[in-house]
Amino acid sequence: MKRYEETLERAALVGTERASIEDDLPPYLADIGRKILSNDSSKEGKFLKLAACVYQYKNAGILPKSEEIHITATPEEEEGALLPESSARLLDRCIAENEIALLKDTIDRCLTHRFVAPHSLLPALLELGLRQRRDEELGALLRTFIGARGHWLSQFDPAWFDLYCIGSEKLWHEASLPLRIRSLDTIRKADRQKGLALLQATWNDEHYKTRLAFLNALSSTIALDDAPFLMGCLEDKSKEVQREALRYSFTSRHHGRSRSTSE
C-alpha cells in the first residue's frame, strides 16, 4: 500500500513524462486498476484516477497513532470563586472596547470580593496584559485576577509565560525543561543570585541531563560570584557535568577578571 503510494508520489513529483506507473499494481487495486488502465483517457487521466483509488483506500483504513504526549502540569485549586459568566460581560466589553480604567476598577472590585476571572475570559485577559505590559498597575491586578487557571494557561505561550509565570515556584517544579531554562535565564538577567538560589534548591534532585542543560543555560550570565557553585559541580556524580563545570569555571574567572579590569 505504502510502496505504491510512494511510487505515485515520486511519479507526480518528476512528472509522468519521465515516470511510469502502470506496472506492478498492488492486489487491492488489481480489478479497478485494470479497468482504469484499459479505458480511453490519457495517461495523466489514468494516473489521477489510480491516485484517487489509492487515497480512498488508504483513508478508509487509517488508524490513529499512539504517542506519549502529556500536559506537563495541573492547575492548582482556585483560591477565589470564578466570576459568574453573566457578570463577566462587563469585563468582556471593557476588553473589546479597550476601556482600561473601567476594567481596572472592575477587576479591583472583583478581587475585593475574592472573585477570579472566568475561564472564558482568560485568553483575552492574558493577551490584554501583554498589549498593555507597560501598565504596571494593570499587570499587578491581572496577575492576581487570572487565578491559578490563568497562570497554568500562560505557561503554554512564551510571551504570556514571561509576563505571568517567571519566578513561580510551582512552575519551577512542574514546567517542561525549555520553560524552566527560559525562566532561569529571565530571573538571572534581573537578579543573578536569586536565579542561582532557585537552581541550587533543586539541583541534587535533577537528572544529569537536566543539570547539564542548566549549566549550558547559565553560560550567558556566568560571572565570578558563580564560582563557588561551579566548584561544587566539580564533585558532581556525572562526569559530563564535572567537565562542563570545569569549562565554565574558567569562563567565570575570565569574566571576573575582565570585569575587574574594566572597573
Binding site: E17, S42, N59, E68, A73, P75, R89, L122, L153
Partner: protein, 441 residues
C-alpha cells in the same frame, strides 16, 4: 416589523450581543439619530475615531452596520432598535442622510429583481447556457490537471500562487465556483512546509479529478451522488424546493461555528446536532463581505425547528424551515475514541469521496499544546494533530476551559487532523469563538 422588546430580542444572534445592545440603547451613545416612515438610522460612537453608521429598514426588514462585527445583527443594530422601542422621542423625523438612502435604494433594486415573476423559458435557457459554460471550463480544468501531472509538481511550492490563482479565476468565470474553491485550497489550504505536501497535493488533485468524472457522468449516478456532485461544482440546490419537502422536526443543539473568508464571499457554517434524530448537520450561509448572513444562533444555543437536508450522498448541509430558541441543550452521545471517529469517517468517504472531516462528539479528549504544534489525545493514547497556527484564539479558549482533565469534545475528524469546536465541562458546553481560514489551515 413590529418594534417591541420581544421581537427585537428574538433577532439577537446570542446573549452577548443582546447584552451589548441593551447597553447601547441609552441615547448618550448616539450622537445622531433619525427616522422616516420606513427607515431608522443612527451613528454610534465606538472606540474608534469615526462613529459606526447603522441603517434599518422596517418593511421589508433589513439592516446594515459599518462595524466589523461578524454577528448579525450586531449590538449596534440591536441597540438602535431597542432605543427606538423604548424611547422613540429621541428619533427626529427628518430626511434620511445620503448613506441611508443609498443603502435603502440598493436594497430595493435587489428586492425588485428577486420579486420579478419567473420566466420559466428564460430560466431554462440560462441553466443550459450555464451548463455549457461549466462544461467548457471543466475541459480546461482537465487539461490543466493533465499538464500539471505530465510536467511534475516538484516546483509547486514556488509557483502555486500564480498557477492556481489563474485557473481558479477561470473556474469562477466558467460559473463553477466549487472548482475555484478546491483550487484555492491547493494554494492556501496545504502546508507546503510539511514534508508530506506532495502526498496532500496529489490526494487533492485526485479528488478534483473524481469530481470532474462524477459531474460528467452525473446522469448515470444515483440521484443523491449526482446532486452532491452538482452542488460541489457550484450549482446551488433550489432552496425553495427543499423548503417544500418534509423535514426533520427536532431540537438542535448548535455546537460549532466557523467562518471562511473566500475573498469577496464569506461562508458562515454552524454545526448542529439533533437530539431525537441523532443527526449532525451544518447550516451554511454565504454573504458578501460587510453584509449580514442569514444564519441561525451561535454555539451554546439550542433551537427547536424543522430542518431539511440538502440532497447528498453523505448529507450534512441542511436548512431550517422554521425554528425557535429553546432553553435545553442536548449533548450528543459520545464516541469512545478517535479510532471510532475514524470508522465513521471511513463510512462517510465510502458514500462520498469528497467528505473532508466528519462531525463527532468524542469522550475524554485532551487538547495538548506542545510548542507550535497542538494535539488531541484520547483515553487510549491515540493522537491526532490539531491544524492551524499556535496563536489561533479559539484553541486557547478550549484549553482554558479544559485545564488538564480530559473532556468530551465536538470536533471534525479526518485521518490527518482533528478540528475541535467545543467541549463540555461538568455538563456545560463551551465553544471557541469563530474560526478563520488561517486558523483551520
Amino acid at each position: 416589523m413590529l418594534l417591541d422588546e420581544d421581537s427585537i430580542v428574538s433577532l439577537s444572534p446570542d446573549a452577548q450581543s443582546l447584552s451589548g445592545g441593551r447597553k447601547l440603547s441609552a441615547p448618550s451613545h448616539w450622537p445622531l439619530l433619525g427616522s422616516s416612515s420606513t427607515l431608522l438610522w443612527g451613528e454610534c460612537q465606538g472606540s474608534g475615531k469615526d462613529p459606526y453608521r447603522i441603517s434599518v429598514e422596517l418593511e421589508p426588514f433589513g439592516y446594515k452596520c459599518s462595524c466589523p462585527s461578524r454577528k448579525f445583527p450586531c449590538k449596534h443594530v440591536l441597540g438602535l432598535l431597542l432605543l427606538r422601542a423604548h424611547a422613540p422621542q429621541h428619533f427626529s423625523e427628518t430626511t434620511p442622510a445620503e448613506w441611508v438612502t443609498a443603502w435603502s435604494a440598493g436594497r430595493n433594486v435587489r428586492q425588485k429583481e428577486k420579486d420579478a415573476p419567473v420566466d420559466k423559458k428564460a430560466q431554462a435557457k440560462r441553466a443550459s447556457a450555464r451548463l455549457n459554460k461549466i462544461e467548457e471550463g471543466i475541459g480546461e480544468l482537465r487539461q490543466f490537471l493533465e499538464d500539471l501531472i505530465r510536467q511534475g509538481i516538484s516546483d509547486l511550492p514556488a509557483r502555486r500562487g500564480e498557477l492556481f490563482e489563474r485557473i481558479a479565476a477561470r473556474m469562477t468565470d466558467a460559473q463553477a465556483p466549487g472548482f475555484a474553491f478546491l483550487l484555492q485550497q491547493l494554494r492556501r489550504g496545504i502546508d507546503y512546509s510539511d514534508e508530506r505536501w506532495p502526498s496532500h497535493v496529489l490526494e487533492h488533485l485526485s479528488k478534483i479529478t473524481l469530481l470532474i468524472e462524477a459531474f460528467e457522468r452525473r446522469d448515470t449516478l444515483s440521484p443523491s451522488l449526482a446532486a452532491e456532485a452538482r452542488t460541489l461544482v457550484g450549482i446551488p440546490q433550489n432552496q425553495e424546493e427543499l423548503r417544500s419537502r418534509d423535514g426533520i422536526k427536532d431540537r438542535w443543539a448548535i455546537l460549532g461555528h466557523s467562518i471562511y473568508d473566500e475573498g469577496t464571499i464569506i461562508r458562515d457554517t454552524r454545526w448542529v446536532y439533533g437530539e431525537a434524530s441523532k443527526q449532525y448537520g451544518c447550516f451554511i450561509s454565504y454573504s458578501m463581505r460587510g453584509q449580514a448572513p442569514q444564519t441561525i444562533p451561535s454555539p451554546g444555543d439550542c433551537i427547536e425547528g424543522e430542518a431539511v437536508f440538502f440532497e447528498a450522498a453523505y448529507p450534512l448541509r441542511l436548512l431550517f424551515k422554521s425554528y425557535t430558541l429553546t432553553d435545553s441543550f442536548p449533548l450528543p452521545e459520545a464516541l469512545p475514541t478517535i479510532a471510532s471517529a475514524l470508522d465513521r469517517h471511513a463510512i462517510a468517504i465510502s458514500k462520498s469521496p469528497w467528505v473532508e472531516g466528519v462531525p463527532c462528539y468524542i469522550k475524554d479528549l485532551l487538547l495538548i499544546p506542545t510548542g507550535d504544534k497542538w494535539f488531541m489525545r484520547d483515553s487510549v493514547g491515540a493522537v491526532l494533530p490539531v491544524p492551524g497556527a499556535a496563536g489561533a484564539p479559539s484553541r486557547w479558549h478550549l484549553l482554558a476551559h479544559q485545564g488538564s482533565l480530559p473532556s468530551p469534545y465536538f470536533a471534525l475528524v479526518s485521518p490527518y487532523h482533528i478540528i475541535p469546536f467545543g467541549l463540555a465541562v461538568n455538563g456545560t458546553y463551551f465553544s471557541g469563538p469563530v474560526r478563520s481560514w488561517e486558523e483551520i489551515r
